[in-house]
Every structure is written in structure tokens, then in C-alpha cells.
């Protein structure tokens, strides 16, 4: 009787959760799953909005052929991979290190303040941030003095001449990576800080009794403790490896850095929305999805093997 009631109350509480989950899942289904067949169909057609899916002519692999002779495809793919891999790596290493350091801080007010300040840029959109960054990183000209960042660097004698971070192919990608990390590491840090609170404190006590110092504790308790989270975040990030951050790059790139800055998403935007080549841009999208899918499956397998992490 008692167990039955317990079961029932458990079912009741999960029922509420399911209701909560229903609408997000519905949205996900409508916006992320429903368009998949349409997108796949479009990639093999010469899609005309007026004729629709049924009336448009099937051209099978013509779009793919065109894609591969398009001179923009390979540079875009290369730039996407480079920028995305660098971003993923930095977006793990830096927040984890920062979370570990913050975790050692005992002054609560200081800790909270730092956390809040680093979290703030996360809430700004790239449209706003790009305007700030362009001014902040400006190299200066005959009419204007260099931006704040160049001023700091030159007055510290780190560089002799102001650097045009957003206008040079040698610095553009790094600028994208660093600014992306700067925007997001506050948020990621919070995820890892949450994970850190989950580490059993008795382990630290035991380690302290055994004579382990701070460093040893971090190495043997903290890091293994949050490893599943690191792996999970990586797996999730790898699924997005081919999205190198459209809104960031679109708002910051310019013709001089197309060579190193043009990514798949900006290419899709130019083809699909500016040029109305729906089928071709659907093809690029499809290709991106296939590659992303393979990457996710691979990283999932790796996660299972390396960290014993699995969803099912």
C-alpha cells in the first residue's frame, strides 16, 4: 500500500516534468525535425517556390556538382573547421581552468563579483558586441587614435605598431576565437562550477588526511570528478563543429578577410538569402548536417570509450 502510493506520487511528479518538456520538444520537432525531409528534398531539386516540392524538377546530384566547383566552398569549409576546432578547444580549456581557480577562492564576495562580471558579455548579442569590438580593436587612422586595445598594447610595448585585428588575414581567425571565448567563458564557467559542487567533499577530507596538497587534490579528485561534464560539453560542442558562429563572423568580417573568415554559414547566407539559390544552399546545409552527424556519432563513441559516458 505504502509502496504503491510512493510509486503513484513519483509518477505524478514526473508527469509535471513531462508537461514542462512537451512544449520545448514540440518546438524542436516543428523547427528542427519537420524541415529535414524538405531540406533533403530541396537539395536534389531545382526548387522553385512557385512550383513547390511537387512541381520542382529533380536534378539529383547537380547541386552537389555545382557546390564542388564553386570556388568558395573549400575555403569556407577549411575556415569553418579551423575556427570551430580552435573555439571548441579554447572553450573547454579556459572555462575549466577558470572554474578550478575560482573554486579555490574562499572570499565569497570576490568570487561572486568575478563570476558576474565574466558572465555579462554572454548576454550581449553579436550585433551589439561587433560594434563595440570594431571600436575597441580599431588600429586608428590619420583622423582617429587607435582603439583602447591597441593603445594598451603599444603603451605596454608589447607591439610597436597598432595591429588591425579585424582587417588582416593573419589575425582575423584568432580574433574570432579569442572574442568568442571572452563572450562565452563566463557562462561555461558556471556549468563547470556547478559540476564542481557535485564532487563529494569527503574525498577531499580523505585526501587531506592522506597528505595530498591542493595540486594533488585537483589532479586526482576535482578533474576526474568533473571529467564526465567536460566530455559531455565536448560531445555537444563537436556536434556544432561546422557552425563556426554565424552571427559573430557575419557581423565582423569584411572583404579583406574573406580568405580566412568566410565560413559555411556565411556562404549559405549569401547563396540562399542574398542570391535566392535555395537548392544550392540547402545542399550546403545537407552536407554540413551529414558531416556534423558523423562527427557527433564518432565523438559519442569516443566519449563512451574514454570516459565511460553514454546517454543510452
Amino acid at each position: 500500500m505504502k509502496t504503491k502510493r510512493a510509486k503513484k506520487s513519483k509518477r505524478n511528479s514526473t508527469f509535471l516534468f513531462h508537461i514542462m518538456l512537451f512544449f520545448p520538444v514540440l518546438l524542436l520537432f516543428i523547427y528542427n525535425f519537420l524541415p529535414i525531409p524538405a531540406g533533403i528534398l530541396m537539395a536534389f531539386q531545382n526548387f522553385q517556390p512557385g512550383k513547390g516540392f511537387l512541381g520542382s524538377k529533380f536534378v539529383w546530384f547537380q547541386n552537389f556538382k555545382r557546390l564542388f566547383i564553386l570556388p568558395d566552398t573549400w575555403p569556407a569549409l577549411r575556415n569553418t573547421l579551423i575556427i570551430a576546432v580552435e573555439k571548441i578547444a579554447c572553450n573547454i580549456i579556459i572555462p575549466v581552468s577558470f572554474a578550478l581557480l575560482l573554486n579555490e577562492v574562499k572570499n565569497k564576495i570576490f568570487k561572486r563579483t568575478v563570476q558576474t562580471i565574466t558572465y555579462l558579455p554572454y548576454f550581449l548579442s553579436w550585433v551589439i558586441l561587433s560594434g563595440i569590438l570594431i571600436k575597441f580593436l580599431a588600429p586608428g587612422s590619420s583622423a582617429t587614435s587607435p582603439g583602447l586595445f591597441n593603445n594598451i598594447l603599444t603603451s605596454l610595448h608589447i607591439i610597436d605598431e597598432p595591429v588591425y585585428f579585424l582587417g588582416s588575414n593573419s589575425t582575423f581567425r584568432q580574433t574570432m576565437v579569442v572574442s568568442d571565448v571572452w563572450k562565452n567563458f563566463g557562462y561555461n564557467t558556471i556549468v563547470y562550477l556547478a559540476a564542481l559542487t557535485g564532487v563529494d567533499p569527503t574525498l577531499y577530507e580523505a585526501a587531506a588526511v592522506d597528505g595530498a596538497g591542493r595540486w594533488k587534490q585537483t589532479l586526482h579528485i576535482t578533474i576526474p570528478g568533473i571529467a564526465p561534464f567536460i566530455v559531455l560539453m565536448t560531445v555537444l560542442a563537436i556536434g556544432n563543429v561546422l557552425s563556426a558562429g554565424f552571427d559573430q563572423i557575419f557581423n565582423l568580417y569584411n572583404p579583406v578577410v574573406y580568405e580566412t573568415g568566410d565560413v559555411i554559414d556565411t556562404l549559405v547566407y549569401r547563396l540562399g538569402l542574398e542570391n535566392k539559390q535555395y537548392s544550392l544552399s540547402a545542399t550546403v546545409g545537407l552536407l554540413k548536417s551529414i558531416v556534423s552527424c558523423i562527427l557527433v556519432l564518432t565523438s559519442y563513441k569516443l566519449a563512451d570509450k574514454l570516459a565511460g559516458y553514454r546517454v543510452w
Binding site: G50, S142, A143, Y164, L166, N254, P255
Partner: protein
């Protein structure tokens, strides 16, 4: 800030609609101002004729049907952020609907959407099979719509039902936009002729007060321009003792942007023409159509000049991260740069902003300096902008023609009485105006507006002006009176608007004075081909444009050699440029 931007955009849009125009009669008679003035005095006789036409029963009803006939439409204007109903009008009750009803045209609203969703809604409606009878799209989608067979062939309907006013309207650009829509002689849509190629020519804007401070003349050649730019950069033209100015402002994000910071006029001065999309068709000495950027010598000379200017600092080092908005608000608006190229409205906002910082600020329009010893020309294309269609499912394809007839009649101050014009177009205080009409055929009358304004300002007599012109006239008058009294208040929005309109219309150095001068001297290279591009060509257009702007900007910054333009040309042709030019030669 947002509000300010919006008002600027509105002001710009207004002026474009003022200026995007073209009085065809000007071409024939060659004297715009006299034509424009006489227009107003002639109009009374014309109006009585028109009314007589409409009143007398005729064989063909140009404006409506004998039996009530339904037209299915989609509405997007009502949800537009910049739209407000006036005079108690609503979606279901406004002057235009009454006019339609009086002509036995009954509207059936299929859907109401936000303007940003309009095209998506339309294509989903077309896919579902139940879509509006009359709708519009950008001309670049014209061939797609024709191919999709969702739109009707209106060749015969146009021949039979087009009113004289509509035919005259289509002649505003010499009939080029209309002809560009013919496919194998057949017509599937009607263009909105507001893309006047003459009025949209770009001029050079320069700070007159800076020239005066430094004792310099207005540059007439590109060498002089470089000199002036140098002086503007290094000789402290604003006299504030600070090194905070430079010469030429360029839009590095989109160097051929058809807006402030456009570099195309500079290439024009050297005999090369890139237009607004980078795909232009000019005639060579053999009568063949070639690409406007194919003049490698001209392009290289222009690029060399820009590269030199960039090197010496008379172009901002960080111009590549500036777009036209930055130039409008920060560079020209804050009085940082002294020279920029742009359309006739390009000083409206900057003059209003810069005057707040410096009351002596004076921005004037001058003819683009010569690069190669000859007068700089402007490329003028008349390809259609917006195209109106009638559904292939509609039983009355003449519906579109009749709606267009109505629009041209009542949205053009020449074709109707002042009261009618005000009701359907002009009087924005009591009527919601042209946006509630299904088809917009409003007047390409920028030239006429300008001529009338100039005449009225000179004579001080505004009696002949129509409602739209009077508003402009009053603004300008407010500003000019304030200047005369010494009571100019740059923070007063009425003075700002007057000043902005003044830079467009009035004085020896207004944008229109330059454009009229250009028209009188025939400083135009007319597009040799105005066709709507085929699917293949428009497919390649984005790639070609990206390559072009990348090459230009990289050359200016010195990342590429000027001579690399030759190899760029090879790539441009190989990547689809060759097909585009071949198509133009074939279809012209």
C-alpha cells in the same frame, strides 16, 4: 538612437521616392526646369480633359468592371512598423477601397502579414494553390515566377486595357523597365517605374567650409581631389588644432553599395562602370556588349590612386570595417571626413548631425571629378525594381491592368485634381495614402518636384505646389529664414529637416543642381542591356560580386598588387562573367 535611425531611414526613403523618378518629357525637350514649371500651369486643362474622359461612357472600361468582380489580395502594409492609419481609416475602410468599390472591384483579403514575412507567406500560399490574384515581387524573381507558371500572360490584356496615363507612366524611363520584362515578346508582369536612372546618379559630397578654411578650390580632377584630401587630412581643415580629420570616406564592407561611401563614381571617372551589383553592360566601340569593369586600364588607374591615398592616410586606415551607416553617423556625421560619394540624399543626415557640432559646416554636392581628362559619366540602368503580377488562376487578367490604371491616375499629381491627389496620395494628415492601394504607380516626379521647389523658393510663391511639395517647401523655408535671421538652431528637428532638404534641392551646389547639369550634358552611360538576368547568371552573381569587392578592397589596402586586376578579370570571366555577357549580347 533607434528612433533617430528610423527617422533617418524614413527621410532617406522619402527622398528616394521623391528623387527616384524621372520625367521622360525631359529627355525629349532637354530643359527640365522650364518643363517642370510649365507643368503646373498646364495641369488644369489636363485635369478637365481627364475628368471628361472618366465621365463619358466608353466602350472599354479602363478603371473597373460593369459587374462586381472580386480580387483576392494579401495585405502587408498594415503591420509595417512605419505605417499608421490616418483620418479614421482602417484596413476595411479607406479611400482606396471606396475607389475600388466605385469601380466594381471588390477586394477579398486572403491574409494579413508582417511585411518581412510577405514573400514567404506568398510562396507558401502559392504552394497551397490558394493565393492572391494580384501580387508583387522583386524583379530578380520575375523569371522564377514565370517559370513556376503561377502568373498569367498579360500581353493581350495590356494592349487592350492599358490607359494612356499608364502607357505614359511606362514611358518615364523610355519604356526600358517594361521591355526588360518581355520574354519572347510576352509580358507576365508590370514594373513599378520608380527606379529613375538619371536621378539615382551619384555625386561627390565635399565640405565647402573646409575648402574655404584652407583656401582651396573645388577639385575638378582626381589629382586635385588627392591634393584636397591631403589638405583635409594634414592641414587641420576644421581649425580645432587637432589631428582628427581625413579626406575620403569609403564603405569597405560593400565598396559598390549604391549609398554613402560608394567607390563606383571614382571608377566611373576613369571609364569603368560597376553599378550597384557589379554586373553592368556597356557598349564597346564595335557595338558589342562588354562588362563595365572590363576596362582594365581605367580600373587600374583608379585602384592605383586609391591605393596611394590609403598609403598616405587620406583614406582612413580602418575603412574596411566601415559600412554606409558608420559613414553616415560617425565619419561624415561627426565631421571626420571631408569627401564622400553618394546619391542625392547622401548629405541629408550627415549635414543635420555635423551642424550640431559645427554651425559653419556646409556640405555641397559637386560633379564627380575627372579621372582621365574627360567628364566623369554615370552608369544608368533601368532594369525593373518591383514587378506586379496577376495570378494564372485569376479569371480576369485585365484586373492588374485596371488596378494599375487607377493607381497611375490618382497617385500622380498630373493626372488628377489636387483634391483627388491629396485623398489618394498626398495629404498624409487626413488619409493613409498610397500604401492602402493594391498597386502602387506613384509618380516618378523627382525632377518636377525639384524644379517646382526651386522656382517657388526663388519667387517665394508656393501657390503652384502640390501637397507633397508644399511640405518640403515649408521645411526649406523654415531653414532658410532661420539662416537669414541668424536664429539657426541645429538641435531643432524642423531646421534639421529643412537643412537636409536644402542639400538635396536648393542652391547652386545642391544634389539636384549637379544632376540637372549631368542631364543637360548627357553625362550618362546608358546600360546596353536591361534584361532580367537568367537563372544561371543570377546564380553566379553573388560569387562574382564577392570576388569583385574582395579584389578592390584588397588592392586599395595594398594586400594585392594593382596589376593583379588582370588575373582577376580572367577569374571573373571563368566563374560565370563570360556567360552573363554572352547572354546580354544574345538577348539584347
Amino acid at each position: 538612437m533607434k528612433k533617430k535611425l528610423l527617422s533617418v531611414l524614413l527621410a532617406a526613403a522619402m527622398t528616394i521616392s521623391l528623387a527616384a523618378c524621372g520625367q521622360s518629357s525631359f529627355d525629349e525637350k532637354g530643359s527640365p526646369s522650364s518643363e517642370g514649371i510649365s507643368d503646373t500651369s498646364d495641369s488644369s486643362t489636363q485635369q478637365t480633359e481627364d475628368q471628361a474622359d472618366a465621365d463619358s461612357p466608353e466602350e472599354i472600361n479602363y478603371y473597373g468592371f460593369d459587374e462586381p468582380t472580386t480580387v483576392k489580395i494579401g495585405i502587408s502594409y498594415a503591420a509595417a512598423p512605419d505605417f499608421t492609419f490616418y483620418g479614421g481609416e482602417t484596413v476595411d475602410n479607406n479611400a482606396w477601397l471606396d475607389l475600388y468599390k466605385a469601380n466594381n472591384i471588390i477586394t477579398d483579403v486572403l491574409y494579413e502579414v508582417d511585411p518581412s514575412q510577405e514573400q514567404t507567406k506568398l510562396s507558401t500560399a502559392i504552394m497551397s494553390g490558394d493565393y492572391p490574384d494580384v501580387f508583387s515581387s522583386n524583379a530578380s524573381e520575375y523569371r522564377n515566377y514565370v517559370e513556376s507558371e503561377a502568373v498569367a500572360d498579360i500581353t493581350e490584356a495590356y494592349e487592350k486595357y492599358a490607359s494612356e496615363e499608364l502607357k505614359a507612366y511606362m514611358e518615364n524611363d523610355g519604356g526600358m523597365a517594361l521591355e526588360s520584362l518581355r520574354i519572347d515578346g510576352k509580358l507576365y508582369g508590370l514594373p513599378r517605374v520608380n527606379n529613375d536612372p538619371y536621378a539615382s546618379a551619384h555625386v561627390m559630397w565635399i565640405r565647402k567650409d573646409w575648402l574655404d578654411n584652407l583656401g582651396l578650390e573645388i577639385p575638378t580632377t582626381m589629382e586635385e581631389l588627392q591634393e584636397v584630401a591631403r589638405a583635409f587630412t594634414f592641414n587641420d581643415p576644421d581649425g580645432n588644432g587637432q589631428n582628427d580629420t581625413y579626406g575620403l570616406a569609403l564603405d569597405g564592407i560593400n565598396i559598390i553599395n549604391d549609398s554613402l561611401g560608394n567607390a563606383d563614381p571614382i571608377f566611373n571617372a576613369f571609364g569603368a562602370y560597376l553599378g550597384k551589383n557589379g554586373l553592368t553592360y556597356v557598349e564597346d566601340e564595335n557595338g558589342e556588349i562588354v562588362w563595365g569593369g572590363a576596362n582594365a586600364e581605367g580600373m587600374k588607374a583608379a585602384l592605383q590612386m586609391l591605393q596611394d591615398m590609403y598609403k598616405e592616410g587620406t583614406i582612413a586606415r580602418d575603412f574596411i570595417t566601415m559600412d554606409y551607416n558608420t559613414i553616415m553617423e560617425e565619419e561624415a556625421g561627426a565631421g571626420r571626413c571631408g569627401i564622400w560619394f553618394g546619391p542625392n540624399w547622401a548629405a541629408m543626415n550627415p549635414s543635420a548631425t555635423a551642424t550640431q557640432k559645427d554651425l559653419n559646416c556646409e556640405m555641397i554636392a559637386v560633379h564627380v571629378p575627372s579621372g582621365n581628362g574627360e567628364r566623369a559619366m554615370a552608369y544608368a540602368s533601368s532594369s525593373a525594381g518591383t514587378v506586379y503580377y496577376v495570378s494564372s488562376k485569376c479569371e480576369h487578367p485585365e484586373m492588374l491592368i485596371k488596378l494599375f490604371n487607377l493607381s497611375v491616375k490618382y497617385q500622380n499629381a498630373d493626372n488628377c485634381t489636387a483634391d483627388e491627389y491629396n485623398m489618394y496620395y498626398g495629404d498624409s494628415a487626413n488619409y493613409s495614402g498610397w500604401k492602402t492601394s493594391i498597386v502602387y504607380g506613384g509618380g516618378p516626379d523627382g525632377n518636377r518636384t525639384n524644379a517646382a521647389l526651386v522656382a517657388s523658393v526663388e519667387s517665394g510663391n508656393a501657390a503652384n505646389l502640390n501637397a507633397k511639395q508644399i511640405e518640403n517647401y515649408n521645411s526649406i523655408k523654415t531653414y532658410m529664414d532661420a539662416v537669414a535671421d541668424g536664429t539657426l538652431d541645429p538641435a531643432d528637428s524642423a531646421h534639421q529637416r529643412g537643412l537636409a532638404l536644402y542639400t538635396v534641392h536648393i542652391g547652386d551646389h545642391s544634389a539636384w543642381s549637379v544632376i540637372r547639369d549631368m542631364m543637360a550634358n548627357d553625362d550618362y552611360v546608358l546600360a546596353a542591356y536591361n534584361g532580367v538576368p537568367s537563372e544561371e547568371v543570377s546564380n553566379n552573381a553573388a560569387t562574382l560580386k564577392k570576388l569583385l569587392v574582395e579584389t578592390i578592397v584588397k588592392t586599395i589596402t595594398g594586400a594585392q598588387n594593382v596589376d593583379s586586376y588582370d588575373s582577376f578579370l580572367d577569374t571573373w570571366y571563368a566563374m560565370g562573367g563570360e556567360d552573363a555577357i554572352a547572354e546580354a549580347n544574345e538577348l539584347r
